[in-house]
Symmetry: C2
């Protein structure tokens, strides 16, 4: 399985298996009002009714939301920000301003990352490498998106009341944080039956472009990138699709999820039984029509830190492949007639008792 380009920790073409799998010691989910009215409402730590999060602009609102997610994750682990060696974070806004202004007060050395809506996967991948490689004992991975900030950045001012095609998704207002730690630091309480969530490996994506130019159908733009990562994860590690209890994409939505399953079938893998998409789960199709589902960095982030980790801690799911997906566009690239390529970042999350 090893290729000539790899060494002891890398496997196949795009994957890594950690020798000393990092642990997730704390996580948090901050959701907006609409997300708090959806089917996952009961799983979020905080549901904020004020879309401004007490701030003075949409961007400020998103920064405050990120800060609350980070503070809460740190507090739940009984830590101080000075205990965290690195912060790996990013968001959808140009020049990552939600992150820059949100996390400034934490004063943690930072790696800013951009993977569009795949950011949670990218930040967790790099955070795990920092831990497994012995460069840090605790790292926080963090991301966010805000419906109004994203509409302002990528589409039209909300006041226009612009119509949206059926393939469009609804950007989630939410921020998720995960604290990843050296397993040697995590002492299991023998009287505690609670399992520990580990990150056992990653599969890193390439920019993948099928030439689709419709920014209102981002599911179609991103599905090939998700398929590439899932395919390489399974083939690099010589696993069948049913190795995982769930293969969880970020925000392909209804349209993109169908495309993903079709591409995977063409590649010889049937993921129709265990595939789940955060964009399809986070809003109710019946009572909260968002057309193709939810999207944004926050969509996969709070579905992971709310719903998915709950399922894992209750041992309902023990092996998860988390594959958030990003559409790589800006208003400039779109207006200049470019296609919308995609990228995805796979993170293998497993319960080890």
């Amino acid at each position: 399985m090893k290729n000539e380009n790899s060494n002891n920790k890398s496997v196949g073409k795009q994957s890594i298996l950690f020798q000393n799998p990092p642990c997730i010691i704390s996580f948090s989910s901050v959701a907006g009002k609409k997300e708090g009215e959806g089917p996952l409402a009961g799983y979020f730590d905080i549901i904020e009714e004020d879309p401004m999060f007490g701030g003075k602009s949409w961007e400020d609102a998103e920064s405050r939301m990120q800060k609350r997610a980070a503070d809460l994750a740190i507090e739940k682990a009984s830590l101080k920000s000075a205990d965290i060696r690195y912060l790996v974070a990013g968001d959808l806004l140009g020049q990552l301003i939600a992150t820059s202004f949100g996390i400034m007060d934490l004063q943690i050395p930072m790696f800013g990352v951009y993977g569009a809506c795949s950011t949670m996967g990218e930040s967790m991948s790099l955070a795990s490498i920092l831990i497994d490689g012995g460069y840090a004992n605790k790292v926080i991975a963090l991301t966010s998106s805000h419906y109004a900030g994203a509409e302002k950045q990528f589409r039209f001012p909300l006041d226009y009341g612009n119509q949206r095609p059926l393939a469009a998704t609804w950007t989630v207002t939410g921020s998720g944080a995960v604290i990843i730690a050296n397993p040697d630091e995590v002492k299991k309480n023998p009287e505690d039956d609670k399992p520990i969530i580990h990150i056992t490996g990653i599969t890193t994506g390439k920019v993948t472009d099928y030439g689709i130019k419709d920014s209102m159908n981002m599911g179609a733009c991103m599905a090939p990138a998700a398929a590439d990562v899932i395919y390489h994860n399974l083939s690099d590690l010589n696993r069948s699709a049913d190795y995982y209890d769930k293969i969880i994409t970020g925000d392909l939505g209804y349209v993109g999820s169908d495309i993903l399953k079709d591409i995977m079938k063409e590649k010889g893998y049937d993921i129709s039984k265990n595939h789940m998409d955060c964009g399809k789960e986070i809003f109710s199709k019946e009572s909260q029509d968002t057309h193709s589902g939810g999207s944004g960095c926050g969509c996969s982030a709070i579905t992971l830190t709310g719903f998915v980790f709950h399922k894992m801690l209750s041992k309902e799911w023990k092996k998860v492949l988390f594959v958030p997906t990003g559409a790589l566009l800006s208003t400039v690239s779109y207006n200049e007639g470019n296609s919308v390529p995609g990228i995805a970042h796979g993170v293998i999350i497993e319960i080890m008792e």
Copy 2:
């Protein structure tokens, strides 16, 4: 020197020393016309007279420039893109579109990063971690900036002929690529006197905000972040400033460099003798008046891959602390009246014969 938060590879509050220092096996510099008329012209691999780089927009021009830098670095190392395990790259444009479209054809698993003009330091830091940690044998770190693309993104259309204050810097058109490799793979030719450039450590920066709101004086915005990284590098590693032959900041320019030296003096370190700023070196003060100097991700990237590595390979400089600096702003954050915080990423580069 170790703090409670650290383990065997991390040192002090913000630094890492690599146990098996990664090697720089190849590098490239692609410069624009104006940069090719400046004092460093003789050090660049390619000077392109066409500001469009054969493309159809400024963004397309920057993507093509990045592709040429990456291709050239790969070619100089007699490699193919499939030999490179990861690409760590980013640029100044919203949603990193110069990078996304530039590197797509390389089909290398990618970590997109954003550190504004500190991106070369951030990408080299993460690339070195991937190598030293045993996750890859070869990683390419890449960044770029384009004068016209940056003016369009951050300031005014060029056709306005906008006036610039004396504290303003001129965004460099340039792209630099560095291929970092596992030292076990690099066989020294005993008959060859050429030294090998290693990355021996890093010091990762925090978002640092002194409340400065003038985006036309980015040197002042970034100097505190540079000072924080240089201070922590020296104190974490218990080094005096003269340990380094050169302490090289990215694009503080004339105004920011003076502020940096003053802050460092207040912190008890005199760096006036060995400080160099890429923004002051890349354009001629006399014949190419750019006011405070050059800036942009490309400024430090091509000064490093052109001029600095030349000085190191000729053994004139053996120990360099490379500290590119970034100003964290977008037109949205600026127009909403926010300050311009800074970040810096320190990379320790040494000749080991």
